[in-house]
């Protein structure tokens, strides 16, 4: 990792920002898409009518932000570490749907969430090792 910047430019923090951007954008997309849902509309299958919702536009901005922060992360953190860590979003989204959108989480889904957390916990050591090398 070439001379890592600190503070807000810390790549680990930016990885977190990227993940949060994706997470929030998914929830906004779902809210926005249902808000303006018009299944009878001729172009509804393209999802293009979703653009009528301001929430969808906020989501698009967040997706762009997540892409830029992700490029920044790639500059400093090995892909083999950054990518698996970024998939924490796959458990944040169901958890967010449960908390904010009132969707249910089945037992099997809780088991999956537990496995991802276990996998992330195992990654803590390689992350610490990389920090040591600095």
């Amino acid at each position: 990792m070439p001379n890592r910047p600190s503070g807000f430019r810390n790549p680990w923090l930016q990885l977190g920002v990227s993940v949060v951007c994706v997470f929030v954008s998914e929830l906004l997309l779902k809210r926005g898409a249902t808000e303006v849902a018009a299944p009878d509309h001729a172009l509804s299958w393209t999802g293009i009518n979703g653009l009528a919702s301001p929430l969808v536009w906020w989501a698009i901005l967040l997706i762009i932000a997540s892409f830029i922060t992700w490029l920044y992360v790639l500059r400093y953190i090995p892909l083999s570490l950054a990518y698996p860590l970024s998939r924490v979003v796959d458990i944040l989204v169901p958890l967010g749907c449960w908390i904010f959108l009132g969707e249910l989480i089945s037992t099997l889904r809780w088991c999956g969430i537990a496995l991802v957390i276990l996998g992330l916990a195992l990654m803590a050591q390689p992350v610490a090792k990389m920090e040591e090398r600095l």
Binding site: Y72, L74, S80, Y83, T107, R109, L122
Partner: protein, 114 residues
């Protein structure tokens, strides 16, 4: 699942993984070179292009299959990217990191199956 659908799923996965590898290479290059460099710009453009192909293929697949059916394939990207980062980018991948990546993949598959 038809053979054609399988091909589309495979291509969308391969283009996504390839995009990540290309973008990583480009960003690594940018640490030692200027960003106003034709090599850097062409690689970023290639990465974005590959991601766009993957995005539209996924969109097309989503119109024909359930998200819960398609998502486990996306979970596989964790394994592919970890392995290819080790092989292509010569990153050091420890046993612990590999097991972590496998657990995350298994978790994603379970979450999408439920």
């Amino acid at each position: 699942m038809t053979f054609l659908a399988f091909v589309f799923i495979l291509v969308s996965l391969v283009t996504f993984v390839a995009a990540q590898l290309v973008l990583k290479r480009a960003m690594e290059f940018s640490t030692t070179h200027s960003m106003r460099n034709s090599y850097f710009i062409s690689r970023i453009a290639l990465g974005v292009f590959l991601m766009t192909i993957s995005f539209f293929l996924t969109l097309g697949l989503l119109q024909r299959f359930d998200l819960s059916y398609l998502y486990p394939f996306q979970g596989l990207s964790v394994i592919f990217i970890t392995v290819l980062a080790a092989v292509v980018l010569k990153e050091k991948v420890s046993v612990r990191l590999t097991i972590g990546a496998l657990l995350i993949t298994a978790g994603i598959v379970l979450v999408s199956l439920s």
